[in-house]
């Protein structure tokens, strides 16, 4: 599903964010990516959605070589990959429902389809009772759920989560991880970048450890080893 082949990325002048990364993530996998701050985890995520371009190597997503993707094809790629972040990236002046609908509106979806999909994804993340609240009227965990709902509107094959629990207390964090596992069970490939040792150890799933842009460990049932 996701393949990095000798992928390297240098930020000018000389920060080696990715250094000959080789990775193969299979469809339906749940993979945790761990590593110290500034080792290139976010760069890895960004290169998958073409927010950053790698300088060397190759990236293949779902059989599609996106290394030299055309600019006009980037939106198509991004509709197939859901992404969530530590800071949720919700629009503060829109309700949770409007935030989710916005993702479909800006992609030219007809109102009928929007009205069908939005309640579905909000139900999946368990927000069906709070759809008319504004982001500041709900908890951090609920904001992250709304962000997940938004990431799911295009029914992506891949969900990338860059430290999704970074701003949450442990109870909320656990709920988000539960939700990611549930989404993974539906068949979506999940890549979770995290600093949370406890979560990684409890997951008992594949763990990839990155150090200064290199993959230093890749265990099928891994532990947080730093």
């Amino acid at each position: 599903m996701i393949q990095f082949i000798n992928a390297s990325k240098v930020y000018p002048p000389d920060v080696k964010a990715l250094d000959k990364i080789n990775l193969h993530i299979l469809p339906g996998e749940f993979v945790s990516v761990v590593g110290q701050s500034g080792t290139g985890k976010t760069t890895l995520i960004k290169s998958l959605i073409c927010e950053e371009k790698i300088d060397e190597g190759q990236i293949i997503v779902g059989g599609w070589d996106i290394t030299n993707i055309k600019k006009s094809e980037i939106p198509t790629l991004r509709r197939q990959i859901g992404v969530i972040f530590q800071d949720f990236k919700l629009l503060p002046k829109k309700t949770l429902q409007e935030n989710v609908a916005f993702a479909l509106q800006v992609c030219g979806q007809p109102p009928k389809k929007i009205n069908a999909i939005v309640p579905q994804v909000l139900k999946i993340v368990g927000l069906e009772n709070k759809i008319n609240r504004y982001p500041h009227e709900v908890s951090g965990g609920e904001q992250q759920r709304a962000a997940i709902a938004r990431a799911l509107v295009h029914r992506p094959k891949i969900l990338l989560a860059d430290e999704p629990t970074g701003n949450l207390d442990s109870i909320n964090a656990d709920e988000i991880i539960e939700l990611l596992l549930k989404i993974n069970k539906f068949g979506t490939t999940v890549v979770l970048v995290t600093h949370n040792r406890e979560i990684v150890n409890r997951l008992k799933k594949r763990v990839i450890t990155i150090e200064t842009g290199k993959v230093v460990s890749d265990q099928a049932v891994g532990k947080y080893i730093l």
Partner: protein, 304 residues
Amino acid sequence: MFIISFFRAIKFSIQDIFRNFWLSLVTVVILVLALFLINVLLSVQIITKSAINSIKEKIDINLYVKSDATENQIIALKTEISNLDKVKNATYISKAEALESFKDSHRNNPEILQALRELNKNPLNATIVIKPKNIEQYEELTNELDQINNDIIESKNFDNPKTMLAKINTITGKINEVGLAVSLIFVLVTILVVYNSIRVTIYTHQREIKVMRLVGATNWFIRAPFLISSVFYTLIGLSITMAIFYPFLTILQPYLEAFFAGYNFNILSYFNKNFLLIFGAEFVVAVAINMIASLIAVRKYTKI
């Protein structure tokens, strides 16, 4: 899908305009100033052109005929002049006709009429009014007329229209030059203001733009609302310009009428007759300029 996106882009654009109300207002005001100025300039040009035409039309040469000349002599002279090829036409105005037209043009001046009555005879000469074919050949024509030696001619009245026309031409030339410079400056200012307001609008939408990119909105959909905004600015600006320019013309018209007395000239009807041409062209040019300004802003500030 395209239609839906297009209408959404329009909706987003309208929301943007109202969300940045003051910025939109300033942009529109500058646009109105520039457009108004350009239309004033256009009017000046139309008016001076008409003035020159009316002056050209009024230019003629008067030959005053001695009082003792017989009708036949005068007709013969008139025919001779008419046959000159630089003459458009020659009209004979008899003493009586001259008096009538003199009385008519001074009908509001009782003192002159009174003096005329006291004089008790017709002091005016019979006149041959000569219209030249071409103003440029005016001097050659006067030379030819000078060579006609007929002793029934009492005097000739050659004004020199060339110097007058030259004067008008230099004045209008100056007006046009200054006007062009001022409107160029305004066009430049407009471009900068539109560019800046689109830039600021983009800046206030950074979050939205980020999210749009993240969820896979196309580049054109992200950019379209800003371009549409520039079209709206132009539409609103031009509408307001027309709304204040027409009353302005209405106020101007009586003064022009007084200036162009006896000459049928109406600036209002000129603008009405050429409405589509004038304002259509202004719209097209203004939209093009503003689109280019916003396109530059959009390309620069909404990179993928």
